[in-house]
Amino acid sequence: MDLFKKLLCKRIGLVVLTVCISIISIAVSLWWNAQLSMIINTINAYSVVPVSSIITAGVTILISMGASYLLGICSGWTCETLAHDLRMGYARHFTTLSITEIENMNAGEQLSRLQNEIGDISVFIRTNLFAMTDDMVRFIATLSWMLRLNPKLTLLSNAPSIIIIWYTIYSSKLIGNAVQKRQQANADMNGFADTLISIFPILRLFDATQLILKQYNEALERWESASISEESRRAKLMSLSALMSCIPLLLLILIGGTQVIEGSTAIGTLYVFINLSGNVSGVMMNMPGRIALFRRFFADLKRIEPYVSLPGR
């Protein structure tokens, strides 16, 4: 966690800029939905949509497109910079070691660390970090706006989300444990290859090939078993999560539809609720996977933290 804070603090300007663009992007998206709701309600009232409304909607679409472009550029730039800082920190760490410490290192394990943990962290930063931040901004902004538009419909349709959140926390913890076991087994297996090379003369001299092959096979089986267990656990937890995530949309159609029939809600508002439900329930639906990824990210960070030297550490 400390390493993550350091990484973000080092590039705080870029991080804040990306979050700000994300906020602007969702604000424009909500404004577009408000325009859309108004147009639907006008058509539903058998009225002609004013030209000014159409122009405003068009301009909003263009601004939304620009904001998405800026968000993509800025988040990509920030992610690459963070990944670069991390790799440089890892390289810098080796320059601070003594010759004895270097000699006692297992090259296979270090290579494994570089290929797996740092590779995974870089991929996570690149593909998930700002996607998750954007999801969070989207979730908070949309939920707040929906509460302002129709508190009753928002609360009733999203109440089951509390159960989903609880389930998310529980399932991500289980997935996180499985991920850690698999990563350890993977590091052991890669370290074994390096050991094999360093002890090769003894292996030949004492004809110990069968012993080492047996040991390697055991390490390989441990890794296979840990990987299968992780995937199986993830599949079970995620499928149940997908089932639960359908409930908010069903409730939204049921309750919102009733309100439209009773005349307490406009059809345009219901359309916007359905259109934006992905921003709330969709985020929740993805939450188990995202939190599992986040836990894996932190597990990776924890494992490499002693091997990364960022300036000022």
Partner: protein, 212 residues
Amino acid sequence: MSIHIENLSFSYGEKQILHDINLDIESGENIGIVGVSGCGKSTLLKLLAGLYSVQSGIIEVCGARRPEDIRKNVAMVMQSTMLFPASIKDNITCGHPLSDEAIRQACDAAQLTEWIASLPDGIDTFVGERGGKVSGGQAQRIAIARAIAKNAPVVLLDEATSALDGETSKAVLSALESLTRGKTVVRVSHRPEDLSGCSRIYRLEGGRLYNA
């Protein structure tokens, strides 16, 4: 004749390491080779162990000339102890079917019995990656026990006592004495004092062997 070396030359690519080495060692003889670091001592020992193939000349160990046959007649202990990431028992037997009695005898001779008895898992204790869970002296004695258990007629010691200190030294030297008793021994070291007890000592310099 236990070891016969005739006109042996060896090079790493363009770099000639050994030039025209000739040496005969009788069974049960204990000889030493001294030389500065990088002079080719370890290369000569690896050739004698059958780890390298002869490029030019002849090496015969207990009548065997092919590296795979030579290796059957040789046990070796090196300065940097190389342990398998396995139990103490597996490190001694190397996965071969040895009787409990043979293992016990190897442990006794290598001064390991008392220490093994104090371990919760005894002889099944895992030594860690690169022997990281045992001390340097203990790792060295496990390597000696492995060489004793092999019961090869020729024992090669590559700087086997160079990294020893204080209390460790006494136990390892005692273990080495058990290992080399009645065997043909070739020791190499960069320190002449490590070769006390050798019947003949040679100096390896410029790739050639001289009487020291």
